[in-house]
Symmetry: D2
Subunit: 276 residues, 4 copies
Amino acid sequence: MKKWSLLIDTKDEKGLIHKITGVLFYQNLNVVQTNEFVDNDNNRFYMRCELEGDVNREAILQKLNELIPEAKLSLCAAKKKDVVIMVTKESHAIGDILIKHEFGDINANIKAVIGNHNNLQNLVEKFDIPYIHVSHEGKEREVHEQEIRKIIDSYAPDYIVLAKYMRILTPNFVKGFENKIINIHHSFLPAFIGANPYKQAHQRGVKIIGATAHFVNNDLDEGPIIYQNVVPVDHSMTWQDMMNLGRDVEKTVLSNALKLVFEDKVFIYQNKTVIL
Amino acid sequence: MKKWSLLIDTKDEKGLIHKITGVLFYQNLNVVQTNEFVDNDNNRFYMRCELEGDVNREAILQKLNELIPEAKLSLCAAKKKDVVIMVTKESHAIGDILIKHEFGDINANIKAVIGNHNNLQNLVEKFDIPYIHVSHEGKEREVHEQEIRKIIDSYAPDYIVLAKYMRILTPNFVKGFENKIINIHHSFLPAFIGANPYKQAHQRGVKIIGATAHFVNNDLDEGPIIYQNVVPVDHSMTWQDMMNLGRDVEKTVLSNALKLVFEDKVFIYQNKTVIL
Amino acid sequence: MKKWSLLIDTKDEKGLIHKITGVLFYQNLNVVQTNEFVDNDNNRFYMRCELEGDVNREAILQKLNELIPEAKLSLCAAKKKDVVIMVTKESHAIGDILIKHEFGDINANIKAVIGNHNNLQNLVEKFDIPYIHVSHEGKEREVHEQEIRKIIDSYAPDYIVLAKYMRILTPNFVKGFENKIINIHHSFLPAFIGANPYKQAHQRGVKIIGATAHFVNNDLDEGPIIYQNVVPVDHSMTWQDMMNLGRDVEKTVLSNALKLVFEDKVFIYQNKTVIL
Amino acid sequence: MKKWSLLIDTKDEKGLIHKITGVLFYQNLNVVQTNEFVDNDNNRFYMRCELEGDVNREAILQKLNELIPEAKLSLCAAKKKDVVIMVTKESHAIGDILIKHEFGDINANIKAVIGNHNNLQNLVEKFDIPYIHVSHEGKEREVHEQEIRKIIDSYAPDYIVLAKYMRILTPNFVKGFENKIINIHHSFLPAFIGANPYKQAHQRGVKIIGATAHFVNNDLDEGPIIYQNVVPVDHSMTWQDMMNLGRDVEKTVLSNALKLVFEDKVFIYQNKTVIL
């Protein structure tokens, strides 16, 4: 049976759930799960419903719009998201996604992989996915990004996944894909922002390291956090040991974040996420 | 402002949320948070609402009862739960509860502590809480339990907390307090049921140990699980090392479980919990 | 520079470290790290040294043998282990190993993958690794195992990795590869031994699930544990949700265990591991 | 039987373990466990031996000193450390220590508790431990610290534990107790240095929070890290919820760190710890 996600993000007011569920009830919809969250600090209301069966999308959106005109509404049939992935040289995050994609374990169609190096081309092509090598060498940053942007636009993806893409993106590039770029950062943000976090972590002598998946909305390390996880380390490890250990955390954190986003469970408000 | 918890546990049907929130809306209540869960496997519906302000309890319950006659309903003003604690010899779990109780960090009034030994009497009395020593020595199990039961009944507690009470309770005793006895089990259930789980864990050579807080509804290790947590161990540890390490896990797991139960967030269905 | 691992497993006695390090010192070896563990309960001594540079293997072993005649000694140059992998239908564990193998991130040469189904053949062959389909259908267990055994023997592997091989192995098969078979079990052993642990875990209502990598020395779920990890779950998850979540844990746990074993860091004593 | 810890911290060189264990062997000592770590990056060697029985302390130190003149050596009989604790207003960390102290579960004698407020006086005195209230109000920082320092000096403690002491210490105060002050910081350092880390964490929308126990050698948040742990959080929690949840982590992290330090297992080198 067809599945749908209804997402509502609006100013909180009395009786909202009653109003909204009234629309669903009188349309005779099968509601599988409902979740809400009220952010009492900011007076915001978030609701997610999973529906099943035939849905008259236009009618429902119109009714809801009449009732709560200022709400951000989204009602989509569950579908695989179209995704373009960007990489640099490291194989663990893209490798994990490719395996999951191959066996239908990720709710996405990978349309293409774009890399600023070419060492991952062979891997990606094994899975019959186009790999486009866009070298940054000898190019100004804006020129390089324009080339990438053109390729991305040709695929019109729902999301862009930075699977260890190691170059800073300009604000201009990022602005073009608001709430659509997901990055895996190789540290437990906000600790160790910037270059080589494993080396920084090693020098600081921390006893736990982690990884952070987040949306990229302005600079590379600062967007809304979707998912984080950690792993213990100790004095006997070099920073390379930490990096190797961290890679399994990175790929799992990214994978969990993608699952949440691709199943339409993530709301973004200011610089935070609400996950229902 | 006064706070209330409304808990509803019933057979799932279409439009339930709309019906229920209608009652709340037309009574003009302040709904702070709402959470629901539909167990589609068993066709059960669970809902928890936090309300604020003046509430006409009788009126609301009556309306809800008319709409969903077979529902289990609970609508209580938030209040500290009356609790009797049972202990044997170990100090960590009772100690943690006493400190939290002293500073108002646990949503409970400890009415009394009952112990089958007396080495914790001095500690408990420091906090001006009655300690009743009911030795089991030379008594048949039923006789011992009857003595304890009499003391418990005199306090009419909302819950009984087994804070490392190390004797098996008879089914008869347990039946008298259905869904009211909370136990901390010193293992990651269902592994290592039974005596000295740390020794069992050490002999098996596990790399992680844990603790489990659960309701006691029949035998000591088998009721609905409320909360669990774990901690890594390694070959260099003796079983006593594991036990010492495990004690911090035990007390924290128990404390988290008590928080959930005392804030009216836990539903019990068959042998499982739903936590909203 | 060439790297070596010296492993010593013997009865504990006074002065052992002094004797052993004397041999290393007078041979003028570069000792990079040394680790020991004394199991005082069982009076056993375990030592692991990492050496660097030219090593006269025969001379060292002879000297050590003279000093501690009853010790189990192993002195090997660090090398990639030859490995045969066995699978059934699930792609996550084998997929993770293949990606790591392709990029040199696992200390092993995968000689072949043997599967009792053929749906993973295509994946394995993408990486130019032989896939041998040995169907169990219509065959007695012993006949099926003899076929597999013949193939394994033709590769003379150092280790056999059961990457979600879902058939029970006979004691006879297992006996042929003592301390050489590594399995990933999809539960937090010793909880939920046996079939479909995720379903068992769901029914029991646990709040944490896990995975266990272990040697297989008698029956499938009972050998020395190498590595374990866990992940929290809750009432809202179906057992299939738990299984999907658990798969990332399984593959990471297996990967960590393989790293330890392939770097010669794991001692086995009775039914436990010592990891140095 | 009497137990001893031998700690050696020196420049690495060939044959060190052989030399050192030679001294131990020819003195006919019972060595229960030995652990070493070589920091190959900095060419440092760390060794910890647990000895049992009669030990001629002077003779051993002299021999070792002859062999490795530049080594930092420490050979102490295991004993309870004398400790002064400093607090402000929060009860969880001091409460946990008091309970453990009362039942012999912490390897320390608490000589006194010093607080800049008096709300914890009643609790501390229940356990027959002196509480000294040194208000900071209306005093210059240096004057306040001199009063505290005088009290501390009168107890000549081995360690000073900041169990949620919420005032910044001056470099001058800290310098007087090098490697002797242990602090629990209510965040996962180096994230959220500074005031109200839980509020900072909430505003940043992190999905995990943590706590860090560390030595204080210069400013309050920057010394060598001894132990860290974390706990998951989500969007539904206020910063006060996070703080309440975090307190159990804080006290457990502090407790683990104290255990390591009081059992003479922690080496400090530059701004990091080696734990053997």
